[in-house]
């Protein structure tokens, strides 16, 4: 499969380039910092995409998993647990939480599921806000120490690479086929033997785990977390915007979405507060109207048009097809 090989080579080249950045530009913290954010948000977007893109279950509450991962990491690290244990523990805790919310919410379809996830996101934020003894409430948590920017950079790169590999495995596996069938028509999937609730729960579990890990990485980078930052509704929305802009249900799409999201935010936030939101709104509308598969979809269509002829028109009924 030459297309697969081409994608693999492209991915390895990108990875090698990313890995070389700290050596090429030592001390250029701004570049490392920006790329760190791209990787971190790319990983979070890929995590959301496992459930929202592959399985078609649009969640508006994924900040819950990021927040649980962030708070777990901060609290454990504050008690002297090493980061290489604290961050995975945060991921596992987020995954465990997803098991509790999966069964009730998956009874709901389409918009009802989406509304339920808004509720979950807000409920976790309010718990974090009011459980002052554990979380410090509205004043948030401050981490006393942090690794330098270079280890952070590689940590986020590893997380993003892992999320890409996980996503790639999913789309090429039997499991991914189940999710694609569920996204397309859950009832038809069930009649063909797909255990839809189990498959959705597995997707949610992986999705929550990746976002929980991302929360931990977020915490050690920003050193300060509060309910409004890591449990906030705006974070949940960002996690939806990135995959949709880049290409929902694809592997590269969420990462591309993260690049664009980070770029727009960095450019606009400093100079024109909140103008970035307007930009994202317009971008979303354009994508939904003109290219539902996002920029990846537009790119695919553009390259296919140039390299391959259109498929022949479909023969009509009774034309002896067969």
């Amino acid at each position: 499969m030459p297309a697969t090989v081409r994608k693999l080579v492209a991915g390895l080249v990108l990875l090698a380039a990313a890995a070389a950045v700290p050596a090429v530009v030592p001390g250029w913290e701004y570049a490392l910092d920006t790329l760190f954010i791209v990787y971190l948000y790319g990983a979070l977007a890929l995590g959301w995409n496992i459930l929202g893109g592959f399985a078609g279950q649009i969640s508006f509450g994924h900040a819950a998993f990021v927040g649980i991962g962030a708070y777990a990491t901060a609290l454990l690290a504050g008690r002297g647990i090493p980061l290489w244990l604290a961050i995975p523990a945060g991921g596992l805790l987020a995954a465990a939480f997803s098991l509790a919310i999966g069964p009730p919410t998956f009874r709901l379809r389409g918009p009802y599921f989406a509304i339920a996830t808004i509720g979950i996101g807000e409920a976790t934020r309010l718990i974090a806000l009011n459980w002052t003894a554990l979380t410090g409430g509205a004043s948030g948590l401050t981490l006393a120490f942090a690794p330098g920017i270079v280890p952070q950079y590689y940590g986020a790169l590893a997380l993003c690479t892992g999320a890409v590999l996980l996503s790639w495995w999913i789309v090429t596996s039997r499991f991914g086929m189940a999710l694609a069938a569920i996204r397309s028509d859950p009832e038809a999937a069930a009649t063909l033997g797909v255990q839809t609730t189990i498959a959705k729960t597995q997707a949610l579990l992986l999705s929550a785990f990746v976002c929980g890990l991302g929360g931990g990485v977020y915490a050690i980078h920003y050193l300060f977390i509060s309910p409004d930052s890591v449990f906030g509704f705006s974070l949940s929305i960002s996690l939806i915007i990135m995959p949709i802009v880049g290409g929902i249900g694809t592997v590269a799409g969420p990462v591309l979405g993260s690049v664009i999201y980070t770029f727009i935010r960095e450019q606009l936030e400093a100079n024109f507060q909140n103008l970035d939101l307007l930009a994202f709104g317009l971008l979303l509308m354009a994508i939904v109207l003109f290219e539902p598969l996002g920029l990846i979809g537009a790119f695919d269509r553009f390259t296919r048009k140039r390299t391959a002829p259109m498929p022949p028109p479909v023969r009509s009924a009774g034309a002896g097809d067969g």
Binding site: R174, A181, V194, V314
Partner: protein, 249 residues
């Protein structure tokens, strides 16, 4: 007589105030083409969905080879070897034709393939049987209605079923396509799959089925040889109504 392969015992389904199926017993034997007929609203499709595990019955049980498969859900019923097609075609529109069929190959009766290549081979085999192999790489939404109906059958076949339930697969087909589908159903039965079909086309039913059951207002009113069932006065009344020209009594 031998033990039935698929049977329903005392099946009933209530939707609110409507008793769609009431106390129906059916037995389908291995190697049969068994037909369910009845006028619109007689409960055929509901009974069909009960047998396929798509709907849980209000009362009664479904057995496959003597084993209860009641209320275990469509997915487990499929894995046990009973698979249904949909009356209104439900392709996975975002997938290609062969990917649609691979879903059936991946998740049907055990042992299930692990690898994409294995599922692909099984899917191509099913497409071959349904004369869709040349369309394998096209998007499913590019197929016309007869093609989509055959895709429904191919997907179901790829699950390697012991019993294939066909819900009005002939509806909307022209005579040529109908004949081809009838041939296909015969071929599937000859390859060892037992078939239950719901059908409106009585001419096709007469030629296809080895036995029939007729439903009227949710109850089974006749069962047996097609000729006998189609000539049964209760069935005839239900289809064309009692003549009102003749004075009653």
């Amino acid at each position: 007589m031998a033990e039935p392969l698929l049977s329903g015992r005392g099946l009933a389904k209530r939707f609110g105030g409507l008793l769609a199926v009431s106390d129906v017993n059916v037995d389908v034997f291995a190697g049969e083409i068994f037909g369910l007929i009845g006028p619109n609203g007689a409960g055929k499709s509901t009974l069909f969905r009960l047998l396929a595990g798509i709907l849980p019955p209000t009362a009664g049980s479904v057995f496959l080879d003597g084993r209860a498969i009641t209320g275990i859900g469509a997915a487990r019923v499929c894995a046990a070897g009973v698979v249904a097609t949909h009356q209104i075609v439900r392709p996975f529109r975002s997938m290609t034709v062969v990917e649609n069929v691979m879903v059936g190959a991946f998740f049907g009766e055990r042992p299930r393939p692990r690898l994409r290549s294995q599922a692909h081979a099984l899917a191509m085999d099913a497409l071959e049987r349904c004369a869709l192999a040349d369309r394998a790489e096209q998007p499913a939404r590019a197929l016309n209605l007869p093609g989509l109906k055959r895709l429904e059958i191919a997907r179901a076949l790829a699950t390697n079923p012991r019993v294939l339930l066909l819900d009005e697969v002939l509806a909307g087909l022209n005579p040529t396509e109908t004949d081809r589908t009838v041939e296909l159903i015969h071929a599937i039965r000859d390859a060892g799959t037992t078939i239950v079909l719901v059908e409106h086309n009585l001419r096709a039913v007469r030629g296809l089925c080895s036995r029939l059951a007729a439903l009227v207002q949710g109850a089974k009113v006749a069962e047996g040889e097609p000729a006998a069932v189609l000539a049964d006065p209760v069935v005839v009344d239900a289809y064309i109504g009692r003549s009102t020209l003749v004075a009653p009594r």
